[in-house]
Symmetry: C2
Subunit: 195 residues, 2 copies
Amino acid sequence: MTDKAPDPTRRNERSRQAILAAAIELIKEVGYARVSVEAIAARAGVGKQTIYRWWPSKAAVVFDAFLALNPAAPGELPDTGDIVADLRLVLHATVAEFNDPDFEAAYRALNTDVQDDPALGERMREQVLRPTLATVKRRLAAAQEAGQVRRDVDLDVVVEVLYGPFYYRWLLRTGELTTGYADDVLTLFVRALSG
Amino acid sequence: MTDKAPDPTRRNERSRQAILAAAIELIKEVGYARVSVEAIAARAGVGKQTIYRWWPSKAAVVFDAFLALNPAAPGELPDTGDIVADLRLVLHATVAEFNDPDFEAAYRALNTDVQDDPALGERMREQVLRPTLATVKRRLAAAQEAGQVRRDVDLDVVVEVLYGPFYYRWLLRTGELTTGYADDVLTLFVRALSG
């Protein structure tokens, strides 16, 4: 199909960007719970139906807005040759992200909304979780090559053992998610993988 | 205050038990999402207002219904002298519980409902999570005494490192929660604590 209508396409893309930007602005201003699809539409200068044409729910819009802020896969982990230092950097960034006052409530809400929305859950896994876990897996595989991590471990399990405690403490609020906690988890993690 | 009206008290307790039993029955029959406070009331033979007098939400009723099924703290872990075997028993039970087809959806829903209901979240922590974690901590402390677990670890972190991966995989559905996964997590966990 040849595209004979470039203008609508561009206008659609402009509307889409305006909607995603409006979602982020409103979350910062009033908090996720008080953001509505109506408010996003009004801020973006589009009709509510424009949003519902492209997204089934507020959660789906917000998910895409976050993805636009943190595009796709997180690239590669640093590889300084020191697996502990490299993981610490990433885990401290995770702690900061989970505690970001602008977005914490929205991250939490997305984590609950995906429970009732299988399609959104699959997007979360495909576009956020699995790429993140795969990045850590690649760094760990390099550490295996370098003889810093034992080879008789299933890296698919290993990466969930690393991230699970963060998710648990953060979502269940059993304690503060601090860099000190990250360091303690990392110490145990590294010991489990050594030798 | 002396109790001059024993009958209403007993009747209240009977109603309460009927409501909790009705909640469990309905969850098994139609699934958590389709259970309403109205349906619980009808099944229990009480008015909807009776439920709302005692509980603020469906989630709060269901939480108490689960507590009634699995009363309070989980007692003590077995102590056969073999910390790995004892933990394996508990973790396999956790896997079975999380996968219980009658209750999986309700457990998931409670885990999301607590995000929007701080009072319910605090009850979840006080009456379920912390007692569970404390039980494992006591078993690990005994293993420390027995020289099976190193002493330079913070057991509050350690227990979240143990349960975090289960919660992560189960709630985010990154993979199947199996006894094989439990065994892999346990192997890593034990290695982190040895030496």
